[in-house]
Symmetry: D2
Amino acid sequence: MANHPVVELTSEASWNLIEDKFTPYGKETLVKLVAFLQDEVYPSSKLYHAQIPKDPVQRWKTVVPVIEELKVKARKLGLWNLFLSNAHYPQHGVPLSNLEYAVMAEILGRGGHVASEALNCSAPDTGNMEVLARYGSPEQQEKWLIPLLNGEIRSAFAMTERYVASSDARNINTSIRQEGNEIVINGHKWWISGAGDPRTKVHLVMGKSDPENPNGNIQQSVVIVPADAPGIRVVRPMEVFGYDDAPEGHCEIIYENVRVPVSNLVLGWGRGFEIIQGRLGPGRIHHCMRSIGAASKALDLMIQRVTDPSRKTFGKFLYEHGSVVAEIAKSRAEIESARLLVLSAALQIDKVKAKGALKEIGIAKFVVPEMACRVVDQAMQAFGAEGLSQDQELASMYAQLRTLRLADGPDAVHIQQVGQRELKRAPELHRRAAEFHRKEEAILRKAGLRAHL
Amino acid sequence: MANHPVVELTSEASWNLIEDKFTPYGKETLVKLVAFLQDEVYPSSKLYHAQIPKDPVQRWKTVVPVIEELKVKARKLGLWNLFLSNAHYPQHGVPLSNLEYAVMAEILGRGGHVASEALNCSAPDTGNMEVLARYGSPEQQEKWLIPLLNGEIRSAFAMTERYVASSDARNINTSIRQEGNEIVINGHKWWISGAGDPRTKVHLVMGKSDPENPNGNIQQSVVIVPADAPGIRVVRPMEVFGYDDAPEGHCEIIYENVRVPVSNLVLGWGRGFEIIQGRLGPGRIHHCMRSIGAASKALDLMIQRVTDPSRKTFGKFLYEHGSVVAEIAKSRAEIESARLLVLSAALQIDKVKAKGALKEIGIAKFVVPEMACRVVDQAMQAFGAEGLSQDQELASMYAQLRTLRLADGPDAVHIQQVGQRELKRAPELHRRAAEFHRKEEAILRKAGLRAHL
Amino acid sequence: MANHPVVELTSEASWNLIEDKFTPYGKETLVKLVAFLQDEVYPSSKLYHAQIPKDPVQRWKTVVPVIEELKVKARKLGLWNLFLSNAHYPQHGVPLSNLEYAVMAEILGRGGHVASEALNCSAPDTGNMEVLARYGSPEQQEKWLIPLLNGEIRSAFAMTERYVASSDARNINTSIRQEGNEIVINGHKWWISGAGDPRTKVHLVMGKSDPENPNGNIQQSVVIVPADAPGIRVVRPMEVFGYDDAPEGHCEIIYENVRVPVSNLVLGWGRGFEIIQGRLGPGRIHHCMRSIGAASKALDLMIQRVTDPSRKTFGKFLYEHGSVVAEIAKSRAEIESARLLVLSAALQIDKVKAKGALKEIGIAKFVVPEMACRVVDQAMQAFGAEGLSQDQELASMYAQLRTLRLADGPDAVHIQQVGQRELKRAPELHRRAAEFHRKEEAILRKAGLRAHL
Amino acid sequence: MANHPVVELTSEASWNLIEDKFTPYGKETLVKLVAFLQDEVYPSSKLYHAQIPKDPVQRWKTVVPVIEELKVKARKLGLWNLFLSNAHYPQHGVPLSNLEYAVMAEILGRGGHVASEALNCSAPDTGNMEVLARYGSPEQQEKWLIPLLNGEIRSAFAMTERYVASSDARNINTSIRQEGNEIVINGHKWWISGAGDPRTKVHLVMGKSDPENPNGNIQQSVVIVPADAPGIRVVRPMEVFGYDDAPEGHCEIIYENVRVPVSNLVLGWGRGFEIIQGRLGPGRIHHCMRSIGAASKALDLMIQRVTDPSRKTFGKFLYEHGSVVAEIAKSRAEIESARLLVLSAALQIDKVKAKGALKEIGIAKFVVPEMACRVVDQAMQAFGAEGLSQDQELASMYAQLRTLRLADGPDAVHIQQVGQRELKRAPELHRRAAEFHRKEEAILRKAGLRAHL
């Protein structure tokens, strides 16, 4: 069974651990996925970047031809919307478990943004489709979900705000209020991914509809806003380490008296917090698996570089110098253990839903991106200055991974949550310790010894 | 299924991942094991230590009563020799896979030396039983294996030598030569675990029978030597951070013209290297799982301490200070990922034998003991000076774990082997990269772009 | 100047940095110190340990002969009480600055406990002499300080309590109350260093004389208690890992209705907190410098081991394997930077007293012992199992250094204090930032640009 | 003395350590420097970036107005060419030691590229001026050094080559050969800093003039090439992460049959290796000090952010969450110790020249940039996504610091060199150990004990 094509790109041992949890459909899809990515998608990445103009205006008006061609092929092959498990989304989903998709997400992660988008599996569309599939009205689904599922349009999710510590959702300032049959939106957002893309036709905007409500979890609502609604102003793209990620972008946006019909409200007034909670679990795992794919790819590149005879110095291969072999071994170990963590979390979601897997998701969320940054950073170092440049994908990979230590909550938030969850075990541990000491004392007494030292 | 008793002591998510790989017998044994350890074995640890005299001579002459009582009970319950899988040892083994025993080994690891010995699962006897079961002649098995399997005697494996870098087996100096019908042994060993125990009746001694053989792997032989053979001199116990681990001990031993019959040769002349190779794989995994149990126990203790109201300082619980919560979260993450690594390695051994699992074993070997040392060290810090003392088990646990970064090869050896194994992937990676670049160029050409930048 | 004998044992660059801050007396003393330690003290360490009986009772009744011989020689050479700077202790001190003694303390640290005691510079006597010299009455000084300065007796400082989180001094439980002309002491202490030594004639006991006082800093008093006072019971020695550090020891002690005359009160009622505050600064630096000496010694040993031809494996020196060279380089870098940190703190104490050097002392306190533990741990690893044993001094060195991460406050306390001190810079930083932005805006405006982006 | 203006931006304790090594001129210059930077230079940084056009062509044709204005002011103030110590460059240098300039370099480092360039102290001009001042002929100095010293032109140093592992100078491929009275240059370089700048009038080109010479250190020569010489083609700017650092840039350049008169040869045929060796020492220290300035600035920014009331989450300041205070404390400790390392190296250069300070320079070179990257990365994390963006200077600071782990030799090279230097101490350590054991044995024998265990 070690001969499954996925083994070449991931790991035999982890495949052995989970293979029996794959359906025949899952295995077949995986085989097709590997072939399609290797034959068509991975090698199209350079073309994709070449098709984006350097001009600071034109690059934001571009629909990259190669990506649209790949999407047609992917859909024809049935490699489409694989992220949407029919276990959770019976109507629109595909028959794949989270575990099955997690493996696929790693393979996608080796291909960067191009791979995910080519299969209609790229954020923020994925999360938005989940929201609309779960919470959208039939009309909302008809109008926005179906075109998204078809890959005909793209979308944005407008949550993060400028001048606000928005990792605490209660700090959000954007105002969402009803006026007659309309909803009026005023707010100042930034880091709105996808908002730069000419194909983006819709924003899901999170704001406060009931800011004075004493219950901080029902102050927020989510509204569907067409991207061309009057009053929306895309101020500028935000850059990450100098990258603007055009045409998708992460934009600063001002919503000024933007008006939409009341029917654009998602789920109901005050349900915004509930909506974003439901959006977070599996998506985090997918980010993690893609990160593992990226780290794994970076390690492969590093191995190629340090064994490249044209890179010898002082008569020796790079791997014969210093600690290179040890670094590679440690990176390999970190990748393997990170993959197991995420697979275990994905299975846990399958078994007991995201709510029962919060510990595993939280651990993966703070362990994996940092690990991937470290592995990629080390690979960059092996490549010398070239590793930091546009001639290798490592530097942009790093920038992308670095954002994941902040996106969906900074590392520290997840670390604290996992730690607090551990502390909740304290009463049970104290109870068990007391029981243990009773037994210990009984045993000591029976042996004629004083019960305590 | 999360309600399985093992979940309380290990992890629900990892149990979910492997439960379907357990046989009904495996599950049943696991339940019994947890109950027996919690009810009888763990609470006997303090008595065990109290029953060892402080006197520097008497402590080496002691058969600790409580351990012998526990052994009787364990055997009656069928919790006996669980390490010996009948997949590898059909005649003497129990019907448990490596994966199944790995889970049990973690639970044993929470109970320190006492737990393993109580179930006749403690090193070095485990490895010695494996050697005798696999390579011993019927007479050798009758005389030494059966009493070992019965827990009637204990044993030692004499490999490491004083004044010699014996992690390279070719450096070994002990001479093993035939004189007539006898084998004569001369050598200077140390760190021979178990050699201090009055119950130890036999040494397996590794030495050179053909030191000039150009093939370094057939110079060695292994000989069975009764512990009371004339010429054996136990010089002294070696200490680890001040601990002598009496009565078992890790002793310095001089073999001076020790004579045994030729029939005491194991497997055949020149087969010593082969014997120790066969001895190493699963045992390393068991050490790793026990280490995870120890780390997991240490984290539990730390959580108890930092939530103990009597340990408040400046009006706050310890966990409310500084980075304690983050440390706990990170330790939890490290324990979970380490467990998954070792379970994955154990399954890999089950699927493709130890030889096919060398990567996974190697990774576990260098990742787990260091991780466990770190977790225990951090727990010690939370306990203050008490954590370093005889009043908590943490310091002795640390000393024990610290030796595992050296036993069966120091970390660096395993790191290098895993790294070298990665480098062997280079030709395949270069081949794949060439293929990738061909495809990439074809795609660029087809799009009318120059094939390279 | 690089030829100064101290350079061989420390560092040329740091000597160049501070040499002009040494007086001629300081330099001369340093030369004598190096010679005496190398010729007489360092080589006596093995004899010292050999002269301590193994017997669990006798080892606590021993005055080690060689240490008394070395003390006579040291005193004759003027290498005596070097820790006591006459800048702070004009009556009893020696004409050395903290910086000068800091360099000497590093050299002492290479010789372990023997070196410090041989020069009458070992804790807890050093701190106790400081207390008595600064706060003792003429009678107290006559009776206890003079014999301590003469090295005729030893002493203990009883602060830490069992069952109490005593890193917060307000948690201390020991009762100190006046009855007529007597003071009555009741308390349960542990980790009282020196209390096992037959030469120890006096305890300074810290307890609460006014436990209900709303000002938590004047509840405590310190009382001088003769070691043979009725009611003192030394319960047992505490062990660190497996070491008991006999004959000095770190003992558990119960004070039960111990009575001393009121004249044994130090400084005055309620002055206990003040006394221990005054005791902490320079002593912490000395511990740090000794730790650097230990780390530096460990690195020397590691270099010897990895270049030892008898330790070759697979035909290569140990240093030719893996990451050994990199580990050595990093340890060297850490030692050099730690030394500079401590020297800088020592100079800061000289310039602006301990109170003005709290930042530097705090940084040294949490950086140095952890660094030293890491360097020694790595050296142990290079030595294999022998490194953990009684045949090398590394393991006991490690145990000693490990306690320093807890003694005088655990790492976390110092980390928090340094961090809080940084936060106190916030108002000034905000003020400066506002000023900066005003200037920036003026410059942008003058250039015809909008003041903010 | 703690009131010196430099203390506000660096550290009181390190100032106390070195103040007496400053001349009155050095102190006076330092005061002027701090004032000028704070009043004029730091606040001009935003204007500098605003004056660089976004257009991908125009940005490379720009002389940024504000930098030229600042240069005029700086020169008038005597804050000019401070890097060029007259101890090494008596004719053109300023009366500052390396130690004195090191302190200034840290302050410059807080202001990024703008600060260094405003004072004519920016690489690669600094190194090129050193080369011309030390090795240039009077004609070469007249033509190129004087305008550089005057800040009228800029320059490039062309060493690194594409497709070549050029950290080993013997791998360099560029051909430099004489044809009649001319030198003909053919080669393919990249990462040539400054080559994009319209003010750059001259390249110093390193190549092989005698590639077959068995002595690898005399194969190379350095030639002065006017930037507008026919045959020079600037192919493209290299990017670091997504930054192109226009207008200066780090360019790929092809030299194709470029011809210059023989008089443009620097120092002589085959002296190229000697020239680059002489160029490296002090410059590395300056990079390190600038890095410390950057790290120190980043920590200041982090402290401001975590104490900013508008960034509270869940009702608490950021510093009240998780491990923030501990991270700040550790960063502070790392900055302080790094500064001391570099100051100590600078003083060592002053005392015994760069050759005698190779250990200290090497340590600083591998410790400081990595430390600075870590500190800045942590500050970025505190700022959330904004920290990675163009709205804070942290991300570009990180990119710049990240290149320093590769420039002038990757970390690993310096780590190996420092490690190898330590190994050279082995014979002396073995000699001392033998002497020690002789003394130890004599002492044991005299005490009537067997000399060895």
